[in-house]
Assembly symmetry: C2
Homo-oligomer: 384 residues x 2
């Protein structure tokens, strides 16, 4: 029994090939043709479709059946968006590849939040990834509004174009850009809370595992293949000073407020593997092991814990670990991680709302979110 009975797509299956060929074959049917067949003017036909304006039921019906007979697909978005000056598209700009960007659940949650707010009534999300120096995609895409997701100052040129087009823009998880509304997080003070928690427990010898401090990436993510920077290595004063990634810097400062002289390493991205590498770098030598480690993301913390476990260390007995983000880690490590929980989806929603508000002429204020401390089972007083 064929299962194609509940739709009538079969009839013109081969049409696709024929009509897709540009400039050849039947031109697509237009509102004018529908109007002609229905015996009304184009303007009336338009009203019949859009629903705005007075149209008699009889006329509307006539237009609709005419459209059906001609296989009219509805008003062409291109014509509509030119006339109306908007396209119903919200852009999401990221500097990384899809795969890299979504390896950290935090980014997925942010995007999901944006989608929740912006995706209603026929709007779509235009994903502009791997946006580098060439701003081509940003120039040639018609977007009503834009959310910059973890973008660095390297896209300043693209932002300039957005400004010239007067496109409402919101930055999420990045530095502040002039003229761009910022949705921010209390990275610095929240990190200070985490650090103070360790201090209160009695820790003095605390090491840091930092997210990338500069380079090719936004806040998180691996270096694009073949590109420089985002190198892993020890956390030196020089690197700290030269840092360009706001998140990493802020979280670092928070810890420094409590442990000014703590040493550490810089990871090449927010990944479990990177955390393991960092963990080994800090823990392999038994003589210079810290009693606690502050990781700048939960994924890094998970890696550190895995490294510690490999070395036979007990967490939190031999080593306390705190993270940042508050993603569900129970699938990665069996521990209940002590961490600073950030409201990821809520931030995405705020960004989405802000863009829509700007679109309607509102003047939304910048929003600053706060992370909340979650005391898990990976921190305890140092042994001895």
């Amino acid at each position: 029994m064929p299962d194609s009975s509940d739709n009538d797509l079969g009839a013109a299956a081969f049409d696709l090939r024929v009509r897709a060929r540009p400039g050849r074959g039947a031109t697509r049917t237009t509102l004018a043709q529908v109007a002609a067949l229905a015996g009304v003017s184009v303007s009336t036909a338009s009203l019949a479709f859009s629903g705005s304006g007075p149209v008699s039921d009889a006329t509307r019906q006539r237009v609709l059946t005419a459209a059906e007979r001609l296989h009219y697909a509805g008003p062409d978005p291109r014509g509509r968006s030119l006339r109306q000056g908007r396209s119903g598209i919200i852009g999401v700009v990221m500097e990384e590849r899809v795969l890299a960007a979504f390896r950290d659940p935090i980014w997925i949650a942010l995007l999901d939040g944006i989608a929740q707010e912006t995706t209603a009534d026929g709007r779509g999300l235009l994903l502009l990834t791997d946006v580098g120096e060439s701003a081509m995609a940003m120039e040639s895409a018609s977007m009503d509004g834009v959310v910059l997701l973890g973008c660095s100052t390297r896209i300043a040129r693209s932002i300039d174009i957005l400004r010239r087009r007067a496109t409402p823009t919101v930055a999420l998880g990045g530095p502040e850009f002039p003229g761009v509304l910022t949705i921010s997080l209390d990275d610095r003070s929240a990190s200070e809370v985490a650090a103070r928690h360790l201090a209160d427990l009695g820790h003095r010898d605390v090491a840091i595992v930092a997210l990338p401090l500069d380079g090719d990436v936004g806040a998180l993510g691996p270096p694009a293949p073949g590109s420089p920077s985002a190198e892993r290595g020890p956390l030196t004063d020089d690197r700290e000073r030269a840092g360009t990634v706001q998140v990493s810097i802020d979280r670092l400062r928070g810890v420094r407020a409590v442990f000014p002289d703590s040493t550490g390493v810089v990871a090449a991205g927010s990944y479990v593997d990177e955390g393991m590498i960092a963990g080994h770098a800090l823990l392999d030598d038994p003589d210079r092991r810290p009693t606690a480690i502050v990781a700048q993301s939960d994924l890094l913390a998970a890696g550190v814990i895995k490294a510690a476990t490999e070395l036979g260390l007990d967490v939190p007995g031999d080593l306390s670990v705190v993270g940042y983000d508050g993603i569900a880690l129970d699938r990665i490590i069996p521990h209940d991680l002590t961490t600073m929980v950030q409201p990821a989806a809520e931030q995405g929603r705020a960004a989405g709302r802000a863009v829509l508000d700007l679109l309607e002429g509102g003047e939304p204020a910048p929003v600053r979110f706060t992370s909340s401390f979650h005391r898990g089972a990976t921190t305890a007083a140092p042994r001895r």
Copy 2:
């Protein structure tokens, strides 16, 4: 030292608020104005920007400086796309929310593959998620081509619109749609390979953990909140017959070819948690434990292994487990999972290439990918 020295965004920071207000304030500058200031015709100005056609260097320069003086942002994509009949946008349609869709790494890999191929020269990816009965977003978005990512027959109406618009369309990880090019996977025969591997090891009592068989979701993902279906529960003949999700059905058939009478449970989505629930359902009763379990995804397999571990069972000593997908699981469970590895990113790339090919009038053939068997350390001969 201020860090805003390398861009000149500061000047018009407040412009955004003023000019974003529609209908109010300065209208956006147009190519005509640029042409006027440069003292050339509009057509010449257009040529100066697009680069196609002969323009003297002097003229081009004049146009460009005029544009700069007026803060012209470049040709408006709306006008361009109306005239040219294309927008540079490739749509990716999914029936789930972002968060749900991207919880399984396999979907991220697929999307990444699509992005790799389609995202070159100024193209962008329009993410249409949570596309339900209302096809609004699909009707009102101007897309040059579309990739259906794990869509069910529920979107037949939307596909009809695409066909009427003659929009090149490719289906990935879904059923076949008439008139739509399909990129497929050898789910059935690959599952048979996995099952035969267990049979060869001597297993006779094999249970199945199936992906959702029907309902509100595409191949994977949780039910939309408040919606029916995608229920978890025992795998009955009735449910098996009523299944609508192609992937699950095919993988089931493959196993059935080797173990016709094996029992099993249906999970509510491709998640570790669901795998754990399923695992407990199958393993909690010591008297009716299978010696091996075939899970229809790696995430489900990971959950099953976690459940087994919780019950004190050794994998593969007491229980053999095989999965499907070949995602990097080393961050979730310590085991090297025996599984069927599918070329996820490669499938995405194939879909992307196919859409572009269709766009240029080509006639790409359907592609069928094959999964390869990976013998890990989670399968062994049954004890006794």
